[in-house]
Structure formats: structure tokens, C-alpha cells
């Protein structure tokens, strides 16, 4: 079967790739584009380790076919923060010790950024339900929720 040619945007860069029809966006990010910050924890959309933002919407990379990327704009963990400054969510995760093994962390940071982009002042309950698609087995979520609250406060304090 011939491969499909896809033109898309990843972290602001124009990107082209060839893929087989069954390949997921997660497969292509990790194996074709070398963006291994997006992790595979389950492959069934249950753990959120492969969270990416597609045209402003939070998506599991494992549930999106790579061919669906055509014409879309995709943000991965590698596209969050700048070389001279981490994103406030990343900084808060560091300061608040919101990670242990770190494997789920890219997915949580992508998901938390997507939340704060949409709702800059979420309640604890809103944070917990928004992040319910992301599994962490190490932290019990306490420090993750606090880090997102911390990041929200930091971001409100900053000029838009």
C-alpha cells in the first residue's frame, strides 16, 4: 500500500512526512519526526502520556491518525516554553516537585497548558477533572494540582 504524504505544522515549523494509513500521530511524532518527548503509555487513549494540542484542542496522539494532521497546527511538549524561559507550567512543576519519574510529565504539562489557555482561573475541581485523562502513578496528583494552581497564579500576574 502506498504511503500518504502529509503536510502539517509542528511547533510552528512546516513539516512533511510519509506515513502508512494505520500509523498514529504518536507513531509519526516519535518514530518519524524524532519528537520523543510525547510518550506512549497505553496506546488506547486512557493515560494521556501522549497529550498534544491540535488546532488549540487537547488530543491523545495515539488516537489520532497521522494523515489527519494535514493542514493542522500541532503543539507537542517540545514546543512549550522558550530556550531562555520555561513555560510557567513547566517552572511550577519544577518548583513544586510535581514529578517523580517524569514519564507522564510531558503529557500533564501539555494538558495543563491547554487548560490554562482556555480557563486562566480554574478551580481545584476544574483542574482535577480536566487532568482526569492523564494518569500519574507516582505523585497521587497533589503536587501536580498545586503546580497548575501555582502556574495559573503566575500567569495572571503576567502581562498577556
Amino acid at each position: 500500500m502506498a504511503k500518504s504524504h502529509v503536510s502539517t505544522t509542528v511547533n510552528g515549523d512546516p513539516v512533511e512526512f510519509l506515513c502508512d494509513a494505520p500509523e498514529t500521530m504518536l507513531d509519526v511524532l516519535r518514530n518519524t519526526l524524532g519528537l520523543t518527548g510525547t510518550k506512549e503509555g497505553c496506546g488506547t487513549g486512557d493515560c494521556g502520556a501522549c497529550s498534544i494540542i491540535v488546532d488549540g484542542r487537547l488530543v491523545c496522539g495515539c488516537l489520532m491518525l497521522a494523515v489527519e494532521a494535514t493542514g493542522k497546527s500541532i503543539t507537542t511538549i517540545e514546543g512549550i516554553g522558550a530556550p531562555d524561559r520555561l513555560h510557567p507550567v513547566q517552572q511550577a512543576f519544577l518548583e513544586d516537585a510535581a514529578l517523580q519519574c517524569g514519564f507522564c510529565t510531558p503529557g500533564f504539562i501539555v494538558a495543563a497548558k491547554a487548560l490554562l489557555d482556555r480557563n486562566p482561573d480554574p478551580s481545584e475541581t476544574e483542574i482535577r477533572y480536566w487532568l482526569a485523562g492523564n494518569l500519574c502513578r507516582c505523585t497521587g496528583y497533589d503536587k501536580i494540582v498545586r503546580a497548575v494552581q501555582h502556574a495559573a497564579a503566575e500567569m495572571k500576574g503576567q502581562p498577556a
Binding site: 510525547t38 488506547t44 510529565t105 482526569a132 502513578r137
Partner: protein, 755 residues
Amino acid sequence: MTYEPKNLRVVGTRPIRHDGADKVTGRANYASDFTLPGMLWGRVLRSPHAHAKVISINTDKAIALPGVKAVITGADLVLPDAGITQAGESAINTQHLAKNLLARDKVFYDGHPVAAVAAISDAIAQQALGLIEVEYEVLPHVIDVDDAVKDDAPLLHDDIFTEGVEPRPEKPSNIAKRIVVAKGDVAKGFAEADFVIERTYTSKPVHQGYIEPQGVVANYAEDGQAMVWCSSQGQFLIRDLCANMLGLETSSLKVIPAEIGGGFGGKTTVYLEPLALMLSKASGRPVKMAMTRGEVLRATGPTSGGSYTTKIGAMKDGTIVAAEVVLKFQAGAFPGSPVGAAVMFCSAPYDIPNLSITGYDVVVNLPKIHAYRAPGAPNGAFAFETVLDELARELKMDPIDFRAKNSAVEGSKSPYGPTHGPLGGIECLSSAKNHPHYKANLGPNQGRGVASGFWINIGGQSAATVVVNRDGTIALVEGCPDIGGTRASLAMMCAEVLGIAAEKVRPSIVDTTAIAFNDVTGGSRVTFATGIAVVQATEDAVRQMRERAAKMWDIDVEQVGWRDGAAQELNGNRSLTIAQIAQKAAKTGGQIMGHASINASGAGPSLTTHLCDVEVDRETGKVTILRYTTFQDAGKAVHPSYVEGQMQGGAAQGIGWALNEEYIHDAQGRLENPGFLDYRMPVASDLPMIDAVIIEVPNPNHPFGVRGVGEAPIVPPLAAIANAIYDATGVRMRDLPFSPPKVLAALEAAEKAKG
């Protein structure tokens, strides 16, 4: 090394972890993030049956598929000599390991590997699996532990004769071992007791649930030199097990530790690594393999379920006089459940004069059970701490006072032999009793539960090297994978001894060719044992720097002290910083490097008490955790944030075990919930904040007083939640998990009984 109180400037603070930026940006490389040029993709064919004879395996069609480079089966794996490899808190039988890696004449569980393939793409490798023809003769299977011990149970192995029974049985059995801990006279104790309660409990296997599935890249060269990249809890263990499985010399194999995406004990053995090496050897190419989540759940070791009977007797004044416990644990396909730890530790928070605790290690058609955080202890504590709750109510005593009255303290003899040193059990209980949580009001259908837990912790072998760089910064070289912040805790102890900032120390976890053997990251041992190695290596470097300063000043080394990151002249006011000494190192004797390689003992147990408030929905049976507070003796919290993280994370795993997690099998013994949708681990919206109160009763055997903290937090939640559900509803839940259908059924049964 012994504990001495000190003024601390780094230990006890909360710096940003050294590997933090890598982990919040996606830079950190885990098992499956690595690739090599020319790499093949490997896949495993697994048994669809819980128990079957393998009549034949035909791989001809698979190997003929274009793009397939190698196919292996159990026939390609030479059975190693019988032997035991220590893996932290587990002991690995190498012959059983080989039979688990690739089935030989029998498959013992749904998911048992029977063959593996390497091909030029993952898609071709998967296609090739479908071309392998395996003929099975399906056998009756057994999973439930009480069924497996029956005389007419399907027999898994014809060469297992129960150990620990005299005389040696004549017939083979699924009971691999019987273990007994006893002291005093239990019959006499029960005869004296004013109150005696006996209850039976069951639980199902639960999985460690690390989010990173096992993955590996192996590269086997023509000269027999091989490299393995994988995530594990110990690169040296992986090296030794792989060398054993493939008959390699230790020096032929280099294992590079990837970042590890959670382990909880489950990554203290091998599943894919030897297969990837065999496929690489057969194909002459590097081979990458990674498990799917379904494979992780079907074929990597969960921890045991089982059945447990506890009988405890107490006097009217609350003194416990006797306890008798029988614990039957599922071992999975091969012997080796953690029942021994449950036997030794289920009663260990308490000092009980008459004890009889018996454990049975029972093989069943499940994946080989493997270590999971305080292995065995949560099961044992579930069956013990719930009876204590019932007794406290009979005695009309506060459950915390009841536990405190019977607590083991310094000088009491532990059930497993040694006499206790300083212990924090009483401190945890009194801190819990005085906490606002314990006094807060509860509403209708709400209840509060208390439970305590004990974990022994281990020491073991660790090595560390402290390299002094010319600018005065430090390279800290160590060999224990960092699962939860040990780079930070080790670097902080190094910085404390040197008198510099933690940020000036860069910790690295190196491959098996770059440092002496280290035991695994397990047994809550790294901040304790590797911490001692780091302190000794740092002290070695300080000694050398004092010698160099003495040489530079032309005075006796005894005249040189060390303070605030500099050599200080004791009878003068000259000082030399680390950088000033290091810059002259070439002329004063060469570069400066401190080293230590130790086998630490005296880990010091960690005790913990949990408070849990629940609300039970009487219409659905759903149990909601309203409030949760953990109290734990950390000895000394080097980085308090990561100690809290262990306490919170362990509690959350215990909550999942209590409320939802379980292996569910169909009538054929196949796992029905091999995915995170149906194997339901807690998510953020299931939990409240988890308050962590750190108690510090210094461990006399560590320079900063450290005790391991990682495992104890998973011990109390099962019982704490069971006790809270009773407090809320008046219904005792004795069969885990307390999922909504089970709680609802219990509530309805209780209503019916009332009439």
C-alpha cells in the same frame, strides 16, 4: 556510619531537582526513546491460554516473510544452571526466569511468551507473529488461591514439593512453600484474652501500573560484545540476568540505564532484554522491543492476591495478648510470592507476646508475581489492621490509643527476630491523634478510618564517586536509577558534606562499565544506602583536598580543617576554596576523586499511620475519599518535597488497590481487563489533596538519620479505607476491591439482614 545531630544547610531544603528541566521539556530519554541505525523491531507471540502443553511450534512461514530477520522460541534459550539472583526484595530463580521469558513445554498463563520475532518494521514483525503456528493442548487451569491448594486442583508443576513441611511431601503440590513465624504460646494467649476476633479476607492481584511500558534496544556484535539500553530499577541486575540467560561473561555486556518511567518493584527483573539480545545475535542487527499496555498487564508481574485469616485476642485494658494469622498468596506461574514479608511484617507495628503467623506460597495460572512497593505488606496489613479496628470497637477504645498501647518501641523484639532500634510508631500515632483531621466533624454516610503500616527497608551494595572539577563544581557518579528524586537527595548530601550549594553538584547515573556493582533501586534503599556511599565518597574527597591544601601551605594535614566549601587553616586565617585546590591539583598529586563502595546495613524500619475519611453513596455503592492524611517516620527528610511525594503517591496507589484495581479473568483464565480503561487506576478527579506529615525519628545508622520512605505509604490504605467504610455504613468489607457493585451488594445485604 552513625548518626550525629548537625547544623544542616542543604539537607532538609527543597532545591529544584537536577534532572527537572530535562523532564519538563521532554528531553529526558526513557526506554523507548532510543534508536540505533539499522535497528530492527521485535515483537513477542504470547499464549492465549492460561494453562496448556505446547505440542509444537512451527516458525517456517514467519521466517519466510520478507523483512523478517530472526525468529526465536524456547528451544533457542539454553536453560541456565539452577541459581538464585538477588533483586532487591525479590530472589530470582534463574531457571524459572528462563521458562518465564520463553515457554518451553508448557505455558502457564494468558500472555506467557512462546516466540519472538525481529523484522525491518514493527508492522512486519506483527504480521510475522500471525504466521507462527503453535499447537497447544489446553489444560485445566487454576487462579484462585483457595482452589489452587485443594487436593484435586490442576497441578502446574510436577516438580514442586512443598518446602517448609516435615517430612517432605511425597506428592507434588501447588503449595511451593510454607513459612512460619512464631513466638510464645498462642493457645494460652487466646485462653487468657477477654476478647477474640477472627476474620477472613480476600484480595485480587493488582499491578504496579508504572506508566512507562517495558522497552529495550539491544545490540549484539559479532565479537560477542553486547549493549542493552533499557529502563529498569537496576542496570547491574539487568546485566547479570541477561549474561546468565545468554551465557555471556559479565564484561561482554554493557547495560545503559535509560530514565525509568516508574517501576514500584516491577522493573527489578527482565522480560524483553534477553529476547532482544537473542534476536540481535541471530540477526546481526540492533533490535528494539517495547510492550503494549496489554502485554504489560498480561505478562509482567502483578502482586499477589490471596486469602488471609486473622485472629487477635486482647484483654479488657486493651493489651493484645495473642495473634494467629494464616496468609495464602498467589505466586503466579512460578514460586516466589512476597508472602514471607507479609508473615514477618503484618504484626510488626505491635509488640505481641504470643504470635503464630503462617504463610503459603501458591503457584497459580497468573504471570509470575513480582515485587510491588512493600511487597506483601499491604495484604498482610489489610487482614491485621481491620481486625484491630473491630477489637478497638469491642473494647470501646479509641483506635489510635489501642494501637499506641500495643506499639513496638525501641527495645521490643520484632516478630522476625531482631530487637528494634529507635522507631517512630508512637510518634506517628500521637501526631495523627492531635491532627485537626482526627477531630474534624463528619456528615451522614461519612466515616473515618485509621490504620498503621510497617516496612523493614533494606541497605545493600552501593558505590559512589565524587569528582572534583577544576572550577570547584562536582561530578557525582552513581549507579542507582532515579525513580523519584534520588539524584537530588544524593547530590544534596554530597553538597552538605562539602559545604556548597546542591546546584554545584551534578549527579549522573552511569552504565555498568563505569562504576562498581550497585544493588537495585528498591527496598527504599537509595537515599539510605547510596546516601552513605555518597557521604563516604565525599568525605574521601574532602580528606584529599585537606591534604592538598596542607601541601600548598606546607603544613601538616592535621592543621587543616574543612568548612563552607573550603580548606581552613586551623591555627591561622588562610583558606582555600575547592576551585583553588582543584586548579593546583595537577601539581599537588593529580586530579581529585573520592570514592566509596559499601554494603550498608541498619536501614531502620519506617512506620506510618494513615487517616482516611470516606463518603459512601448508598444508591450506587461508590466510595469517595473526602480527606486523607499520612504520618510517616522518615528518619530525616533530605528533600521534604520528594518525601511527601512518596507518601502521597503510595497512599494513592493504596487507594486504587482498595477501591477499584483488580485482575479480572474469564472462565478460560484470560485477563479480561488488560488496559487502563478497565484496569482502573486513580485519576486526579478521584482523589482529594493528600496531606503528608513527616515525622523524624533519626535512624542511628545513617549520617543524617535517613530511613527509607518509598514503600511504607502503600501499606495502610487498604485497611484504613475498609475501616472508614465501616465507620460510614456499619458494613465490614472483607473482599478487595471495594468497587461500587461490591459495596452496594454489601449495603443491600446488611439492609436485608436488618429486615
